[in-house]
C-alpha cells in the first residue's frame, strides 16, 4: 500500500502510547496528578510527540481524496435521510395516537398532555464530571453489615 497515510499507522505518537500503557503489574502510589498515570500519558502525547511533516499529494491522489470525501458525504447524507424518515414515521404514529385518544376520552387526553407541576430531578443522582474515576461502582464489594454500637 503506497498511500501517503501508510506512515500514520505507526507514528511516534502511537508508539508513545504503546510504550506508556502499563503492561505488567501496576506499581502502587505513582507520582501522577490525582493518582492517575493516564494524565501523564496524555501530556506526553500532546506535548512530547514531534510535529509530523505535511502530506504531499499528486494530482491522482488529490482526485482520489476528493472522491473519497464526496462518497463519505453521500453516505452520511443517506444515513441522515434514513434517520429523518424514521423520525417522521414515529411522529406520525404518535400524532395519530394522540388524535385517537382525543376523540376517545377528553379527560384522559388532558391528563396525557399535561405534566406534573412539582416534579424535581432525582436527588440521589451522582454528580456528573468530565474526569470520572476508572472504577465507577464496585459490584464485587460485599454489602456493609451494620456495626454494633457499644
Amino acid at each position: 500500500m503506497s498511500s501517503p497515510f501508510a506512515r500514520t499507522a505507526l507514528t511516534k505518537a502511537s508508539n508513545l502510547m504503546r510504550a506508556g500503557a502499563p503492561s505488567g503489574p501496576k506499581k502502587g502510589g505513582g507520582n501522577s496528578l490525582n493518582g492517575e498515570p493516564r494524565n501523564d500519558l496524555i501530556k506526553k502525547v500532546l506535548f512530547d510527540a514531534p510535529p509530523r511533516p505535511p502530506v504531499r499529494f499528486s494530482p491522482e491522489d488529490m482526485t482520489r481524496h476528493e472522491t473519497i470525501e464526496r462518497a463519505w458525504k453521500l453516505v452520511r447524507q443517506q444515513q441522515k435521510q434514513a434517520q429523518e424518515e424514521g423520525l417522521a414515521r414515529k411522529f406520525e404514529m404518535m400524532r395519530k395516537a394522540n388524535a385517537e385518544l382525543e376523540a376517545t376520552s377528553a379527560q384522559l387526553f388532558k391528563h396525557s398532555q399535561t405534566k406534573e407541576r412539582h416534579a424535581v430531578f432525582p436527588r440521589q443522582l451522582r454528580t456528573l464530571t468530565d474526569t470520572p474515576p476508572k472504577q465507577i461502582w464496585n459490584y464485587r464489594q460485599p454489602a456493609a453489615t451494620p456495626t454494633p454500637k457499644a
Binding site: 491522482e60 482526485t63 464526496r70 463519505w72
Partner: protein, 367 residues
C-alpha cells in the same frame, strides 16, 4: 540536452553504458487539451469503495428521474388548472437537480469542469455547476461594483443578475494591472477610449437549455444635460431579438436585429468618469416573443426605464466599464461623430461676501 547523443553512442559501440528507459519524443509546446486519466484502482481500497457508493447513488437517482418523468408526462396530459403550471415547473426543477446530483460526484465530471475550457453546457450537471460557480464567484463582484458605482438606482431598480455578460474589446484593451476573470475585464474597470472605438464581442453565460430572445443595450447615463442642470442617458448600441441559450453564448449580428448601431464611447472633457453599462434584457413571455423596434419609437436619448416598460423587457444581465476623457476622444469627435468637441467646466465661483462692483458688502446703511 545531451540525452539523444548518449543513446546514439550506446547503439553504435554497444558499450557498458546503461540504456535509458524513457523515450526521447518531444511534445509540442502548444499541445492538445489534456485528456482525463482515471486514477488507478487497487492502490487505495477506500477509493474503490467510494466509486461503488457513488455508482449506487447514481443508479438510484436515475431510477428516481425515470419515475418523475413518468409523472410529468401524466401531469402534462391532465386537465389544465392554475396549480398545474407551478407543479410542472417544480417537477422539472426537481428532475434537473436529480440529473445534476447523479453525475456531480463522478471524478471525471469534476476534472472536466476544472480543466476543460469548453464544457458541454447541454448536460444538466455542467449547467448546475456553472450556475453555482457564477453565484459564488462572479455575482458578488458584479453586485458590489454596481451598487458602489450607483449603476442600479440610476439606470434601473436593484435586481439580481441571473445571466453572466462579458465584453471583449480585443487584445490590449484591458490596461495592465486590471483584474481579469476568464480573460475578460472585471466589472467596473477603466478602459481607454482608443481601445473601445470598434464594437466588442459579447459573451453570455446563461443556464437555460432552451433558446430565448434577448435585447442588448449599451447605455451611458452620465452625459451632461446643461439646460436641466442634470445628466441624461445616451444609447450607444441597441440590438433586439438576440437568440441565446446555455450552448449559444456569442452574439452574432446576423441572427439579430441591430436597431442602433454601435457608437464609440466618447466621454467629453471636463466631465467625471462615465459608466458605460451593457444590459441584457429578456424579451416578454420568457424570452419566446420577438419584438419589433422602429426607428421612430426610440432615439439615442431614450432612457432605459422607458425602453423596458414600453417593450416589457426584464433585465437579466449587466456589466459596465468606466471611461474618462483622453486625446483619443477628440479624435473620435472629429472622425467618428464629426461634431465639435464640447468642453465642460464648473460655473464661476461667486464670492458671497462681495457685491457686484467687487467691493466688500456694507453692513450698515448711512442714514
Amino acid at each position: 540536452m545531451s540525452f539523444p547523443r548518449v543513446i546514439l553512442r550506446a547503439g553504435r559501440s554497444c558499450s557498458a553504458m546503461p540504456t535509458r528507459a524513457f523515450s526521447v519524443k518531444s511534445v509540442a509546446r502548444s499541445a492538445v487539451e489534456p485528456t482525463y486519466k482515471a486514477p488507478a484502482l487497487g492502490v487505495n481500497k477506500t477509493f474503490d469503495e467510494a466509486l461503488k457508493v457513488i455508482a449506487e447513488d447514481k443508479a438510484k437517482r436515475l431510477a428516481d428521474i425515470k419515475n418523475m418523468e413518468a409523472t410529468l408526462a401524466q401531469l402534462v396530459k391532465a386537465a389544465p388548472s392554475a396549480a398545474k403550471d407551478t407543479e410542472i415547473a417544480a417537477l422539472k426543477e426537481k428532475i434537473f437537480k436529480q440529473e445534476a446530483y447523479a453525475e456531480i460526484n463522478d471524478p471525471e465530471i469534476q476534472w472536466q469542469f476544472k480543466n476543460n475550457k469548453n464544457i458541454d453546457m447541454s448536460k444538466a450537471v455542467f449547467r448546475f455547476m456553472k450556475s453555482k460557480q457564477f453565484k459564488r464567484e462572479t455575482l458578488p463582484v458584479i453586485q458590489q461594483r454596481t451598487t458602489q458605482m450607483f449603476v442600479t438606482p440610476d439606470l434601473l431598480p436593484a435586481f439580481t443578475p441571473s445571466v453572466n455578460v462579458q465584453l471583449d474589446f480585443g487584445a490590449g484593451s484591458i490596461p495592465q494591472g486590471t483584474k481579469i476573470a476568464d480573460g475578460y475585464f472585471e466589472t467596473g474597470s477603466f478602459l481607454l477610449p482608443g481601445k473601445t472605438i470598434k464594437e466588442p464581442k459579447v459573451n453570455v453565460t446563461s443556464f437555460h437549455p432552451e433558446q430565448r430572445y434577448y435585447t442588448i443595450a449599451l447605455v451611458d447615463p452620465d452625459m451632461p444635460d446643461v439646460e436641466n442642470e442634470t445628466y441624461k442617458q445616451q444609447l450607444h448600441w441597441l440590438i433586439a431579438n438576440v437568440p441565446l441559450s446555455a450552448t449559444q453564448t456569442e452574439l452574432t449580428k446576423e441572427n439579430a436585429d441591430v436597431v442602433l448601431s454601435y457608437l464609440a464611447p466618447h466621454p467629453p472633457k471636463g466631465t467625471k468618469y462615465h459608466r458605460y453599462t451593457l444590459l441584457l434584457a429578456e424579451q416578454p413571455n420568457n424570452g419566446q416573443d420577438k419584438i419589433q423596434i422602429d426607428a421612430t419609437q426610440i432615439s439615442r436619448e431614450t432612457t432605459l426605464r422607458d425602453l423596458c416598460s414600453h417593450f416589457k423587457l426584464e433585465v437579466k444581465g449587466l456589466t459596465f466599464f468606466r471611461q474618462v476623457w483622453d486625446k483619443d476622444v477628440s479624435r473620435i469627435y472629429k472622425e467618428v461623430l464629426q461634431q465639435d468637441e464640447p468642453v465642460y467646466g464648473n460655473q464661476p465661483k461667486v464670492d458671497e461676501l462681495l457685491d457686484e462692483t467687487g467691493q466688500k458688502k456694507k453692513k450698515f446703511v448711512h442714514m
